[in-house]
């Protein structure tokens, strides 16, 4: 039964126009509590927009706390409708994709101090920024949230949300007018980066299964170094054609190794509005700490350069081999078809197939350092390769991170590290925006536990594999440890002839603890009070 209680919207304090709800299922299931006005606006719902995760959390809360009775299929349909018709424009979703992708992210670029402080006790500020509300609704939300979770709302944080996350935006107006379900089905060209394992390339085939926005996926990727193949199958849904959320698993049985990329993964990607590209992360693990960075693009009738290998060349080096990995390369290829900018001369084509060209290049001694585009005829891969004349420093990524001991219902939280070489940019300083990233380098990995003179007992904290994969000790010692993860370059030297060294700050934590009678559990990047993850 559809319950519609007509009531003028302004009576409830809303001074802005709402987004009418037209879906019969939402009207029926949500209408038992949320009244509908004469314009089809549904109390609260019509004055909010959110990502699929936002609507999923709201729906769960309505079921869990307010006793809404829906079947799983109905809940899924409700989330789908709301995420589509009350969702975010791609331009709005992009800055907070790190939340859906479960990435640790410094939020100073998306939230002010007040909002970060207000949110950080329980979750990323991105959870709030994944919503759009009217000014009235942000104030109402803050008051209810504070009441429910017993804290004092910060007016500055609320003002910030009112300012940066309004219901009505130019982006949403433009997007809702042109939104359509893009053709997701068919063939995609895929490149991926697995930290510690390098770059991969291949294809995904998608087959529509329901309404054009749900599909089955089959993916096959090969590592650039040729040592491994990933074959995965799964299902995905593209809310409004842009918010890709899926699950997939390896075609072969996953081993017990936590970093086995055959493990079942969740997928969160943002599809470009025109449906031509998608980008995001596929992730797994107790804390979703392990993952694959994925980029996909549609093939065309023209050649496309997807990836190059290697990622950098030294100025003054000759007869370098470069591989262009792509699609639809023609049968006849000449050196003139490939270019990498001034100072890089393509001497000859060594070999070519429809999917790969190997060329020989010389790099002039005076070639300017920096990242270069690589072009094959009219297809350009931007900033694909770096030219450098020295390696100045190593950066170990992630530069700060968490791992966790196991406990009760919690599996261990792992961490994969990768050492990236850099040359300082024109400003002559390290760690600035003009530095040139040269790509991963071979390193020897080691650890150093903070404050300990005797480093011979590191096993009680964990172990670091030769590939930079940290595994916490099986037995939790009941305390946290701070650890340096140290990468020592096997080949690159500092100006004084010593091997280059990079470090990352790892905190190895207990999974739960009790403080002042309250129990806290670890989440992706913070401690939260138990039961607060749905806030």
């Amino acid at each position: 039964m559809v319950v519609t209680l007509a009531a003028p919207s302004f009576v409830r304090g809303q001074t802005e126009a709402g987004i009418p709800v037209t879906d019969p299922l939402v009207l029926a299931r949500c209408g038992t509590c949320h009244t509908v006005d004469e314009r089809g606006n549904m109390q609260r719902i019509s004055w909010a927009r959110a990502t699929p995760e936002g609507w999923q959390a709201a729906t769960k809360r309505m079921i869990g706390e307010n006793g809404v009775s829906v079947t799983p299929l109905e809940a899924r349909a409700i989330v789908k409708y709301l995420s589509t018709r009350h969702g975010l424009a791609p331009e709005e979703a992009k800055p907070v994709m790190y939340a859906a992708e479960r990435r640790i992210h410094d939020e100073s670029d998306t939230a002010n101090d007040s909002l970060q402080d207000a949110c950080s006790r329980c979750h990323q500020a991105a959870r709030a920024l994944s919503w759009r509300r009217t000014a009235d609704d942000w104030k109402r939300f803050a008051a209810r949230h504070a009441e429910r979770y017993q804290f004092t709302p910060d007016p500055e944080a609320v003002d910030f949300l009112v300012k940066v996350a309004p219901l009505h935006t130019r982006e949403w107006d433009a997007w809702s007018a042109r939104a359509r379900t893009p053709e997701i089905g068919g063939r995609w060209l895929v490149t991926a980066h697995i930290p510690g394992r390098g770059n991969f390339y291949g294809e995904m085939a998608t087959e529509a299964t329901g309404g054009g926005d749900e599909f089955l996926t089959r993916t096959r990727l090969r590592s650039v170094d040729g040592t491994s193949v990933l074959a995965r199958t799964g299902r995905a849904l593209a809310y409004a054609g842009t918010a890709w959320r899926g699950r997939s698993s390896g075609s072969s049985l996953a081993s017990s190794a936590p970093d086995d990329s055959s493990n079942a993964t969740q997928e969160a990607m943002l599809v470009a509005p025109d449906g031509s590209r998608a980008e995001g992360r596929w992730f797994w693990g107790q804390y979703q700490e392990l993952g694959v960075d994925v980029k996909m693009q549609r093939p065309s009738s023209d050649p496309i350069v997807l990836l190059v290998d290697p990622l950098s060349f030294k100025a003054g080096s000759n007869a370098n081999r470069i591989r262009l990995i792509g699609d639809r390369f023609p049968a006849q290829v000449t050196a003139a078809d490939v270019s990498a900018g001034p100072g890089v001369t393509v001497r000859r084509i060594v070999s070519s197939t429809p999917g790969e060209i190997v060329a020989e290049v010389d790099v002039a001694r005076d070639a300017l350092p920096g990242r270069r585009n690589i072009a094959f005829r009219s297809s350009t891969l931007e900033r694909a390769v770096a030219i450098y004349d020295r390696v100045d420093y190593l950066k170990v990524m992630p530069d700060s991170s968490l791992a966790a001991f196991s406990g009760e219902a919690y599996l261990r939280g792992y961490q994969q590290f990768e050492a990236i070489a850099y040359q300082r940019g024109p400003d002559g300083r390290r760690h600035t925006a003009d530095d040139v990233e040269l790509g991963p380098v071979d390193v020897a990995w080691s650890m150093e536990v903070f404050y300990e003179v005797d480093q011979s007992q590191q096993d009680r904290v964990g172990t670091l594999s030769p590939a930079g994969f940290f595994t916490p000790a099986a037995a939790s010692p009941g305390v946290n440890y701070d650890v340096w993860i140290i990468a020592t370059a096997k080949n690159e030297k500092s100006p004084d002839g010593k091997p280059l060294v990079g470090k990352s700050y790892l905190v190895v934590t207990v999974p739960t603890y009790t403080f002042n009678g309250r129990r806290y559990v670890r989440d992706l990047d913070r401690w939260i009070e138990e039961g607060s993850s749905g806030r």
Partner: protein, 119 residues
């Protein structure tokens, strides 16, 4: 379930790695040490920034020290380039009880003009 002793955990609301981390239990807070040395590296990272610097001891031997500070978010006005290798720093702080060459910084001044007080 392990229950940590009060005092082991201190809430540090930081960005990126926002985790209840550790207090100053590892440091001897009864005595402050002041050292002067040359920066070899600076890690402007969560949960704590760390300066690595070399100090010559009385015998002329080089000791490699590490000085731990608060989180980047709380280091107002600081950036990843606030301290560079070669800068000369004077660091005052609490030394690690273990005897490791570690300090918790309470004051720091650098030849490049950067200062930190009361961290």
């Amino acid at each position: 379930m392990k229950t940590l002793a009060i005092g082991v955990m201190v809430f540090l609301a930081t960005t990126a790695v926002a985790v209840a981390h550790h207090g100053l239990a590892a440091f001897d807070r009864t005595t402050k040490v002041t050292l002067m040395g040359t920066v070899t590296d600076f890690h402007f990272v969560n949960p704590h920034s760390v300066v690595e610097f070399e100090v010559k001891d009385d015998a002329g031997q080089v000791q490699k020290w590490q000085a731990e500070m608060t989180s980047p978010k709380n280091l107002k006005g600081w950036t990843a380039t606030s301290l560079e290798p070669g800068d000369v720093v004077t660091v005052t702080g609490y030394r690690a009880k273990s005897g490791a060459l570690f300090l918790w910084v309470t004051e720091l001044s650098s030849s490049n003009g950067m200062k930190l007080r009361g961290a």
